[in-house]
């Protein structure tokens, strides 16, 4: 039998492939600091999106811890900033770096994000955990090029201790393993005029509302713990009432939605079953701005901390009020009092209406972002680009642009009005309260 040697062309091909394989394993020499923070934001969002039974509540909580962990991982390497230990509810201590010892703060960040993400999302798949490890290893190899082994070991150890302590603290906030208690079958609330009813055009198969206890969870900011109740327009189904007008506005809007309004409605729908949830969408915008503006490491991580904790606290307060007022959605009121055949553009989320969770989170995130970036920052949001078109509503997912940071909050709130699942007052109060919640995060003493 004859052996055929490769032809000249084949030899080149084989050599090229070999060279490409080698190149694949070539480690970059460096990576921008802000890029490491942004890549961990990406991974956090990937896990948020790809972990089943995730809820907007649990997701927002995790963003709070992941954002805070970014900041705490690097804060001791910055001369102007200080840890938030002692300033956040029941956060009395975190591991401190050893004095007079060298640390690589990027390596601390890299390690602590990896460890905390795997702990806080213990329920995610093994495949996702491998992805987390893979990102950590890739960044670690780059960082290792410029530091000695002892510093690396010390940094890794510190990163682990920090993540573990943050995780231990997180266990006592009321939301730990909250995905096991999404819909409590034993929760019951007697109905009353204007009370929330399980949706018929629903996002969830459960008839019980999501996380009825979430409003009792520990907030990050002490000031956010006891915010006063917002004002709610009282139930009155008579046609001339302000309450009726709220729903009439929703009804009229749904009947003349423009294509752009429909696009906004599905863009911000952020269904937690298929996306990284509304909180994740805002964290995504934070990473987009970080990548665009390339701030230094402490600013980048502080941005994620502020946005993460703001959306987490916003949802705790929102849930507190949702279950206080236990108010109905347009899909309950409108078929009963305006038009029986009416159906919202977007299906109902499985929890009460007032105030809008999207509005309060978006306002909180926008306000938090304003602490880092100029409000008049034009940017393009590509969060859902590439998603298959919405077949039910026949609408495409198109990238959206915003002239200011605040315009994100306004459109997010309006998108729920376009979707027919929130009244104007749900959004108005949500926006107002979101700013207050974020301001309490911003007002923490971040600098020494």
């Amino acid at each position: 039998m004859k052996i055929k040697f490769p032809s000249h062309f084949q030899s080149i091909l084989v050599l090229s492939l070999g060279w490409m394989l080698i190149q694949c394993n070539v480690v970059q020499d460096n990576i921008p600091d802000h890029e490491i923070a942004a890549q961990w934001a990406d991974m956090t969002l990937y896990v948020t999106k790809n972990t089943p039974a995730n809820s907007p509540t649990f997701a927002s909580r995790c963003l709070g811890y992941m954002g805070l962990a970014q900041y705490e991982a690097v804060v001791h390497g910055d001369i102007k900033h200080q840890s938030l230990v002692g300033q956040l509810n029941e956060l009395n201590a975190l591991p401190l770096p050893k004095a007079q010892q060298n640390y690589n703060w990027l390596m601390v960040l890299n390690r602590s994000q990896s460890t905390l993400l795997k702990s806080i999302y213990i329920q995610t798949s093994d495949e996702n955990k491998l992805k987390i490890d893979s990102l950590e290893k890739r960044i670690h190899k780059i960082l290792l090029k410029s530091i000695d082994g002892a510093t690396a070991k010390r940094s890794l150890n510190y990163g682990d201790r920090l993540a573990n302590e943050l995780f231990e603290w997180s266990k006592t906030d009321g939301g730990h393993r909250g995905y096991l208690k999404n819909f409590d079958p034993n929760y019951h609330r007697d109905s009353f005029p204007g009370s929330w009813k399980p949706p018929l055009f629903a996002q969830s198969f459960s008839h019980n509302p999501l996380h009825h206890f979430w409003g009792e969870n520990r907030t990050f900011s002490p000031l956010n713990k006891n915010l006063p109740l917002p004002t709610f327009i009282s139930y009155d189904p008579s046609e001339s009432s302000a309450y009726h007008q709220e729903f009439m506005a929703v009804y009229k809007k749904e009947r003349k939605l423009t294509e752009e309004e429909k696009e906004a409605a599905i863009w911000w729908s952020d269904d937690p079953d298929v996306t990284f949830s509304p909180g994740g969408h805002l964290y995504y915008i934070a990473q987009a701005l970080v990548r665009m503006k390339k701030p230094n490491l402490i600013t980048a991580t502080k941005t994620f901390a502020m946005v993460g904790m703001s959306v987490a606290d916003a949802f705790i307060k929102c849930w507190k009020w949702k279950y206080h007022f236990f108010s109905e959605r347009p899909n309950t009121f409108i078929p009963e009092f305006i038009d029986q055949k009416w159906e919202s553009f977007w299906p109902d989320p499985p929890f009460p209406a007032f105030p809008s969770g999207h509005a309060i989170q978006a306002a909180a995130a926008a306000r938090a972002l304003q602490a880092t970036f100029n409000n008049k920052t034009f940017f393009i949001d590509s969060a859902h680009v590439g998603r298959e078109r919405d077949h039910v509503r026949n609408v495409e997912f198109k990238a959206r642009s915003y002239p200011t940071l605040w315009s994100v909050a306004v459109e997010t709130a309006e998108s729920r009005f376009y979707g027919g699942i929130h009244t104007p007052q749900d959004n108005k109060v949500g926006l107002e309260q979101g700013v207050i919640v974020a301001q309490n995060i911003i007002n923490l003493k971040w600098e020494k």
Binding site: T51, L180, H188, P198, L200, Q203, D273, V274, K341, V392
Partner: protein, 562 residues
């Protein structure tokens, strides 16, 4: 030439002018049943079968957290629960859901297939359980044979069962719908990760019946690759090509997976997804359905139940699409629907529709059932007028002939409300006293086809009247199985000009000049059933190959020089 075996029963049926609607016969019949849900979940269903071959239709009702019941028809309009006597006790350990019936092993006795969602007793972190098959022993008892049929290792959250011979081998095959992720080989380990995965969409089970002894899951072989929060499928020949296609109903179609329409590519072992072509990819909360050719154009139409507004999918054969005409036909009412049953209940010559409604327990807002009377092709809701306006938490429903009096009666399963509820909510039996015309009942006995002739077509011609009926394979309605006895209302017509039976595969037989108000039994002829097995097929193939090899060797040896 066809040899028609026609056994005729003549019944003394009073007709014309008997129009009192339906009579609630529940108590009088000794029916005492309600379905009890497991943690606000689904159920239940009912199957019509003559389990003891006494010529009267019996009922199997699932109970969920309650005991199931096998109600033996005592031939006097009453029932007796013979569940325990019939050795069905193994079902007591399970939270049952749906039920369907067939003579799976072709021994002349109707067997039972029951879906479950979990076991009773200690609560499971992830509720799942095997499904159950009970083989009728012919002596009034059943034997649980889930293990030998190969279905006991799959732990699932199963819902509706449809039966149809999709490979035309004469054995009843099965499609089982699953709602949440299933576990082939059982659930071995429970962690936070398995718990959060448990709520994901599920694939269904396409079971090929191997010689009446075993079910083999053949989804992959038949190129099925779908998931959904499913209430099961409906085997039906939507495209009139004489093989059984499959409609799959999915809950939350607007955000998870839509309904599927699977075209059987027989003789190729393949189902092809055609729901988008036919515009049957409904993205709704599809709970169940009913099949009928309501506009008598020769093509079947489908009523799909839903939350809020049901869909009335009318086939447009020239365009090869379906159109929702619920509003135009007068059936668009706001409610939550589950079961649906087409029948010419009043025997006036057109097809009426019953719809079983009920709130999502534990919400417990009373909502009444619908009775849509067909008036020259348009429907009018008349549940109040005919005595069917029950406010129970309705689920599965079936039509059957309680007393063999020729008209079709109704049984509607209701759930026990979890929370305080005004009106009573119990399973109800309604005796049909609404008939105003003549009728014809037809019962088929398959030979080459399945014994119950699932999917066979019966076309009745009487003057200007044309009715096109498909034999029900189950999971029409909601996780239930109607009577296989075909029933045709004729109005005042005094004769049937012809009656054509098209058996699955396309062979047909025709009867002429039948008188009404009788039950006709038609046995399939031409190709009597021959039991084959894969082994005999392989033996023949092996023998052929051996012969061929022998001939080749012989030929080669003949070429060799001596």
């Amino acid at each position: 030439m066809f040899r028609l075996i026609c056994i005729v029963f003549l019944f003394l049926v009073p007709f014309l002018g008997k129009s009192q609607g339906f009579v609630d016969h529940t108590e009088a019949a000794g029916v005492n049943h309600f379905f009890e849900v497991y943690e606000g979940m689904f159920g239940g269903g009912v199957a019509v079968l003559d389990y003891n071959n006494d010529g009267y239709e019996d009922l199997y009702l699932t109970g969920g957290m309650q005991e199931d019941q096998l109600l033996e028809n005592l031939k006097d309009g009453t029932f007796k629960n013979v569940f325990h006597k019939a050795n069905l006790k193994p079902a007591l350990g399970f939270v049952t859901q749906g039920v369907a019936t067939a003579d799976f092993n072709r021994d002349g006795w109707m067997d039972l297939l029951i879906t479950t969602i979990t076991t009773k007793g200690s609560k499971k972190t992830i509720p799942r359980a095997q499904n159950l098959i009970f083989i009728n022993q012919g002596d009034g008892s059943f034997l649980e044979k889930s293990k030998s049929f190969g279905i006991s290792e799959s732990e699932s959250f199963s819902t509706g069962i449809s039966i149809g011979d999709f490979n035309l081998d004469g054995y009843p095959d099965v499609y089982v719908g699953n709602y949440f992720t299933d576990y082939d080989g059982g659930l071995k380990e429970i962690s936070d990760a398995t718990i959060v995965n448990a709520g994901k969409t599920a694939k269904g089970y396409l079971y090929e019946n191997k010689g009446g002894e075993k079910f083999v899951e053949v989804s992959k072989k038949y190129k099925l690759d779908h998931r959904g929060f499913s209430f099961g499928g409906i085997f039906t020949d939507f495209d009139n090509d004489h093989d059984l296609d499959l409609i799959v109903n999915n809950d939350f179609g607007y955000k998870a997976k839509p309904n599927y329409l699977l075209e059987n590519m027989y003789p190729k072992k393949e189902f092809r997804y055609v729901e988008q072509d036919y515009q049957m990819d409904l993205r709704i909360n599809a709970m169940g359905g009913a099949t009928a050719d309501i506009n008598a154009d020769g093509y079947l139409d489908y009523f799909i139940t839903n939350i809020r507004f049901n869909r009335f999918m009318i086939q447009q054969p020239e365009e090869k699409i379906f159109e929702d005409q619920a509003e135009a036909l007068g059936t668009q009412f706001f409610t939550i629907s589950w079961g649906a049953n087409f029948n010419d209940f009043d025997q006036d010559g057109d097809i009426d529709l019953f719809v079983s409604n009920g709130d999502l327990n534990p919400n417990c807002v009373p909502m009444y059932n619908f009775y849509f009377e067909n008036n020259e092709g348009l429907y009018t809701e008349q549940s109040s007028k005919v005595g069917l306006k029950d406010y129970g938490v309705g689920r599965g429903s079936v039509v059957f002939d309680l007393e063999n009096d020729g008209d079709m009666d109704l049984l509607v399963v209701s759930q026990k409300p979890i929370r305080p509820y005004g009106p009573p909510s119990v399973t109800r039996l309604y005796k049909n006293e609404s008939t105003v015309g003549n009728y014809l009942q037809v019962k088929l006995k398959g030979n080459a086809s399945t014994p119950s002739a699932f999917g066979a077509r019966i076309e009745v011609y009487s003057d200007s009247l044309y009715i096109n009926h498909e034999i029900d394979g189950g999971n029409t309605s909601h996780i239930s199985h109607n009577s296989r006895t075909a029933h045709f209302g004729l109005g005042a017509r005094e004769k049937i000009d012809s009656l054509k039976v098209t058996w699955p595969g396309g062979v047909n037989q025709t009867l002429y000049q039948l008188v009404p108000n009788q039950r006709v039994e038609i046995e399939e002829e031409l190709s009597p059933f021959k039991k084959t097995s894969e082994w005999s097929y392989k033996w023949v193939l092996g023998l052929l190959l051996f012969s061929l090899l022998f001939l080749i060797l012989k030929y080669r040896s003949s070429l060799l020089p001596y």
